[in-house]
């Protein structure tokens, strides 16, 4: 159980950013491992700079270390240069907290936030000395657990992960600990099968080896439990009230620069705007807002103990926080700590009111603002249920340029359902108009247009949609670039080949596990990184497994088809999703249900949950489709919009 540091230290001399591997963050812990405590190694399967700020991992780190029956440490995927050193010197994956070998832990728990990190999970298992395939593991091997948004379609990782936790982990982590602790105390009686069987009975836990998958040709026809006490359907876990979980209490302050390098305070979880492409919005319902006082305390305390001079109010759409006015007013009125504290809203709503809030809180460093209209025409925005009018957008950018911002960034998706070239060219039109608005205020006005290829995700209304292929996405991106060639808009785009590989996995079934393993064996790690991504590895692996990429990626699914994640429930009724998919095809929008009558998506009713709001009145500025005047703000009586028909 000794520290590997003496063996690690000499390897750091020649590697890039050696401080990735030293730990020592403010807030980090050096827990004492005890025989009666389950030792968790929480692994983020990407670089330290990407993984360190992850809030889910930090929340579990604190919750587990507060328990008497658990200890938790952290690890991140070593970059390729350091991995080579570790392998050359036979040093295993280790924790950054106390530099213990991964082999000294009971559980390796992975955060799955994106499909293209899956090969890194295999690499970390291998570096930890764990057989990558679950079926090859012995009693003495670690238990491999995974959670995060990508666990909502667990099948592509079913061969490698012993148990998935679906949904919020705050409560489930404790229950899983208790099962493993009992197994440990009992001397591992019954072997892995026994503990996995017990884990499969914990609500929200999916143990793939407890289920049989039946195929008919390429199709999955049934996924059924092997034991009567294993649930047919695994329902996600949801913490009913965020007020019970004021975590992280001691956010880690890294020594080197990382992404989102600031205090992050989650003001609410869940989103009911109902954007149909957005998996995060669909799987995290209902909305649970943090009480205003608690959010304020977490911000003030967090700034004081971290020394950060910036705080981000995080959520999927922070301007929709019903207590946003009061929170911003109290933060701006306060001198929290010494120096100027910046407040940021990472996801801005597209309306003038939101820009007003942004201008109130970003007194300094006013460089760029980001908006995400996502679609280039009103028609396509109704299809995806992003109900932003052109006037909303122009009012927002008018507000931004007139209040001193010089650059706006616009996010769009291409490859959306029903998309026609006029929708794509609409993006160029919007960008040109945005710049024209800006030029009225400043000669330096510019706009960046970021374009991503749409990848359909499980548990969304678009889960039945056949994704655009590489050539089609490329054609659309090129059309957009040509159209904006003479403008001062800068176009940035995501590699369509990476979107294709993501598409193989995002709606993949259990057979995709073999593909992931082949890509990993061929050296395909860090596939999220453009310098390491290689589509040929994925296509070769598909061919070697006799699988047709088009069948997985570009094929439309039918209503009666069994989807590989049908036995995993995010609470959304399949009927609701299918109906919403049909509404999308008819270009009908759907309002935010927080402030309008319930349309019974299934989550609140099935799980006996309710939206938890910080304030009894809707957020100033309103939310989409609720008929409020977005330009003025304030609480306007809520009314449903008259249904708009597709033009």
């Amino acid at each position: 159980m000794s520290s590997l540091w003496p063996r690690i230290e000499p390897l750091l001399a020649g590697v890039e950013k050696p401080a990735r591997y030293i730990g020592m963050e403010r807030g980090s812990l050096a827990p004492e491992h005890r025989p009666d405590a389950v030792a968790w190694l929480l692994v983020y399967p990407d670089t330290y700079e990407i993984g360190l700020p992850n809030q889910g991992l930090q929340i579990l780190y604190e919750i587990l270390n507060e328990r008497r029956d658990a200890v938790a440490e952290r690890a991140y995927a070593p970059w390729v240069d350091f991995e080579a050193e570790l392998r050359a010197h036979d040093v295993p994956l280790f924790s950054v907290d106390t530099h213990r070998s991964a082999r000294d832990f009971d559980v390796l728990a992975f955060n799955l936030s994106a499909e293209l990190v899956f090969t890194n999970v295999l690499n970390c298992l291998d570096l930890a000395g764990v057989p990558v395939r679950a079926e090859c593991r012995a009693v003495a091997d670690l238990l491999v657990i995974a959670g995060g948004h990508c666990a909502f379609n667990p099948e592509p990782m079913a061969d490698f992960v012993d148990a998935f936790v679906i949904g919020d982990g705050e409560e489930a982590a404790g229950e899983v600990t208790e099962v493993i602790a009992a197994w440990k105390r009992g001397g591992h009686v019954g072997g892995r099968e026994a503990v996995l069987h017990d884990l499969a009975t914990v609500p929200g836990v999916y143990v793939p080896s407890m289920y049989e998958v039946e195929h008919d040709g390429p199709r999955v026809v049934a996924i059924t439990p092997r034991y009567p006490d294993v649930p047919e359907r695994v329902d996600k876990r949801t913490v009913a009230d965020l007020a019970d979980w004021p975590y992280p209490k001691r956010q880690l302050v890294p020594l080197i620069e990382v992404v989102h390098d600031r205090l992050n305070v989650e003001v609410f979880r869940g989103c009911t705007r109902g954007c149909r492409f957005c998996q995060a919005g669909m799987i995290t319902r209902p909305v649970r807002e943090r009480p205003l006082d608690q959010a304020r305390t977490m911000i003030v305390e967090g700034l004081r103990r971290s020394g950060y001079d910036e705080v981000a109010l995080t959520s999927l759409s922070s301007a929709d926080f019903s207590g946003i006015d009061g929170l911003v007013a109290s933060l701006v009125g306060e001198q929290a700590g010494c120096g100027n504290v910046g407040v940021s809203l990472p996801s801005l709503r597209v309306d003038a009111f939101t820009v007003g809030i942004a201008s109130e809180i970003q007194k300094v460093r006013r460089t760029g603002l980001t908006f995400a209209p996502e679609g280039g025409s009103w028609r396509i925005r109704q299809v995806i249920n992003k109900l932003i009018t052109e006037d909303d957008l122009y009012a927002a950018v008018e507000g931004a340029y007139s209040q001193g911002w010089r650059r706006v960034k616009l996010y769009f998706l291409v490859g959306l359902p029903t998309e026609m070239d006029e929708d794509t060219l609409g993006i160029a039109e919007l960008a040109r108009n945005v710049i024209a608005v800006g030029k009225r205020h400043t000669k330096q006005a510019s706009a960046t247009v970021s374009v991503g290829g749409f990848v359909p995700k499980a548990h969304t209304p678009f889960q039945w949609f056949g994704q655009n292929g590489v050539e089609e996405l490329r054609r659309k991106i090129n059309m957009l670039r040509d159209s904006l060639r003479k403008s001062s808009a800068q176009v940035r785009w995501h590699d369509p080949e990476a979107s294709f590989a993501e598409g193989i996995v995002s709606r993949g079934d259990r057979r995709i596990g073999r593909v992931i393993e082949r890509v990993w064996r061929e050296g395909g790690t860090f596939q999220e990184w453009s310098e390491h991504f290689r589509l040929d590895l994925w296509l070769d692996a598909m061919a070697a497994e006799g699988l047709d990429p088009a069948w997985y990626v570009t094929r439309h699914r039918t209503e009666d088809e069994v989807l590989p994640w049908d036995h995993i429930a995010a609470g959304l009724h399949r009927d609701f999703l299918w109906h919403d998919w049909q509404s999308a095809l008819a270009a009908h929008g759907l309002p935010d249900c927080r402030w309008t009558p319930c349309y019974d998506c299934g989550v609140c009713t099935d799980y006996a949950l309710e939206h938890v709001v910080a304030s009894p009145v809707p957020p100033a500025g309103g939310s989409q489709g609720t008929g409020q005047d977005l330009s003025r703000g304030g609480s306007v009586p809520v009314a449903l919009l008259p249904a708009r028909s597709a033009s």
Binding site: I256, E257, G307
Partner: protein, 243 residues
């Protein structure tokens, strides 16, 4: 940056252990956070993006340790200088310890220009990782000091050049055998030409590589007298002279 009726303070700190792998910039950010944690009344620059008025001495390379790093920070009002080392050390990452603090005279010369000599403790091995013979290393040190020139290869803006660092090497001698290599002590100038520990070791020849480097002292030389930077420009002395 000094003056303007502020209260400049000079700090000496150590950087030891694992934390030696963070960069100079990371150390600067850690200090800025520590100042905020302890609510030190730091003076800020004017303008669109105000920055704290902090200036660091000579940069320390990633991986090198030090017992003697310095920075100057300007406070907007007088602070309890005696209490600073303990307060800041508590707010800094482990391995960074503030060892001393002194109120600084207004317009004291900046550290980067004022410091002219550095003392280093180095540990060297052979390129195969073996401990070299101490006597052999001592002979290499002696012949380096006896040489009239010590050429080292440098790459500047992508161009290879050869520079003579002999004037920068004031002393180098063997001090014993360490855990894994031979320990050297060296005294190196910073101006008009400086020399890095790795360059010195390469210039000694004999297949030696740097295992560890620790800066143990920095000196300001004035009129033939060596001054510890904390003592070089005390605030009280200037005030006494003015009265």
């Amino acid at each position: 940056m000094r003056g303007d009726a502020g209260f400049p303070v000079r700090l000496r700190f150590a950087k030891q252990g694992k934390v030696r792998f963070i960069s100079h910039r990371d150390v600067a950010r850690a200090f800025e956070r520590a100042f905020r944690i302890q609510a030190l009344p730091i003076a800020f620059t004017q303008g669109f993006s105000p920055r704290p008025k902090v200036s660091f001495g000579l940069a320390l390379s990633v991986g090198h340790e030090s017992d003697a790093e310095y920075l100057d920070v300007e406070c907007a009002e007088p602070v309890d200088v005696e209490a600073l080392p303990a307060a800041l050390t508590a707010a800094l990452p482990g391995g960074i310890a503030v060892l001393g603090a002194a109120a600084l005279a207004d317009r004291a010369p900046a550290l980067q220009e004022a410091v002219s000599v550095l003392e280093w403790e180095l540990e060297v091995t052979t390129s195969a990782g073996e401990t070299p013979a101490p006597l052999a290393v001592a002979r290499l040190a002696a012949s380096a000091l006896a040489a009239s020139t010590l050429p080292v290869a440098r790459t500047r803006k992508g161009r290879e050049s050869c520079e003579d660092v002999r004037p920068a090497v004031r002393a180098v001698e063997v001090r014993g055998v360490g855990e894994r290599g031979v320990c050297l002590w060296a005294e190196l100038s910073t101006q008009p030409i400086g020399v890095r520990p790795g360059e010195l070791i390469a210039a000694l020849g004999g297949d030696l590589v740097e295992l560890r480097a620790r800066r143990v002292a920095q000196w300001i030389e004035r009129a033939g007298v060596r001054l510890e930077p904390l003592d070089a420009d005390p605030r009280a002395a200037v005030e006494a002279r003015a009265s």
